[in-house]
Amino acid sequence: MFSFCTDPSLLATPAWFACYLTTGKLMLFYASFGTVLLLLAITAPIALGFGFGAAAAARSRILPLSWFGKIYIAMVRGVPDIVFFLFFVIALDQGIEYLRHKIKCPDWDEPIRQGSDFIVCAAAKMPLSTAPQAWHEVYGFALAVLTFAIVFGAFAGNVLFGAMRAVPQAQLETAEAYGMTHRQTFWRILVPQMWIYALPGLSNLWMVLVKATPLLFLLGVEDIVYWAKELGGAKTARFTDYPHGDWRVWYFLGLLIFYLAFTRVSEIVLDRITARLTHGQATAAGEAQRKAAA
């Protein structure tokens, strides 16, 4: 990066650190923070959408739909995350490839399972093995987003299902007395009011999601924890221009600060949202807000 980086006498001086901290490998580490933030930014709304769908389905008057919502919530909540991340993702990946194989290579006569091998024709590979590595990473990332969304969607579904039932029944009865249809009651009365009851549970889920990102490496996405481990390990002078001892403690300290700062920012934002949603609600906090203003 800098012209003085090749000077060996600079070891462990500020200049050395300036060089060390700008190597390509460290750049990948910095970029992985972006990966994690991007994952959170994409996953959170999708998971919330899944959760909303599941909660709405679970309280539906159509029996099969209600079963579907309840089974989804119960099943995903009951399966350990790590099983889900190891088993489900490989199954999902193979399922996609199996379908593509059936469509794209109808006259393939060899079996797909040969011993422990999973063989589909080259055109059914997802992504194609000729695709650049970047596409493989995008695909892995998309699988990660989907898996996180399914898992956290089930938890969010349970939270929202509870929140929907916490909205005072009298409100819904009044709506119906005014002649609103079931659908109108749901969208105009229930949904706007349920968020305040859901927020504590959802904010917990958000915090868990923030810290669950190391599971990404199980899916082949190189996240900040993977890079901290890789970069922090002792390096000998033979294979790098920047040899150092075991620095994992420093790297993990950096991660600790990152996670703490991130949770703090999340808390501030969530507090503001709570204050806004409390406004005019028939809850203790809403009442306190009304009195303070008066």
């Binding site: 190597t23 990948l28 091998d117 063989i119 294979f239």
Partner: protein, 239 residues
Amino acid sequence: MKTLILSTAVLALSAGLAMAQTVRMGTEGAYPPYNFINDAGEVDGFEREFGDELCARAELTCEWVTNDWDSIIPNLVSGNYDTIIAGMSINDERDEVIDFTQDYIPPATSSYVALSEDADLGGVVAAQTSTLQSQYISESDATLLEFATADEIITALKSGEADAVFFDTDYLVPIVEESGGELMFIGETVTLGRGTGMGIRESDTELKDKFDAAITSMKEDGSLNEMLIKWFGEGTDTY
């Protein structure tokens, strides 16, 4: 005549397809000098140089991918990459699940490293999990302490958690040399396994043959030996 032209065209076309084949090479990236991530963040090491040469000889386009050691075989059989080239020793247990090319590194020696000459080799010995070395220790009298990466076994030794580590000599040599006398080799070296080979899916015999042919040609013209000496030093075993 017509069929001749047609079959020539088909041949040319299929040869063209073969040329364009992309082979994804799976490696660990945490095992110098075999394979590691260099300062630029790319896969480097003996296997990178060797693998690129093999691909050039077999006229394949190769792409390097890193994967966690623990799941390196499952990801090969489910087709996320096409080869494992990660310093993997050929043994019967692995051979049941995947196929190996011929060996490209002679059977490796493993050594004990400890903090002092009189360390207890029958005490707690650290090794990387699911390796030949961990298997060897578990069958000996010593207590096995397993870690996911090779780096962690050295940390365990320095912190006193383990009395000694037992691992691949080529990996340990640079670490012992640069420890400034803190670490030392003790006890006998042991030769384990049947050499290091590339792992390939059992159904992928065509690819296996291509790599086997390329390895043979590199053994014959001596270029493999040069590469072994370049990365593992003068004293290493060659063909």
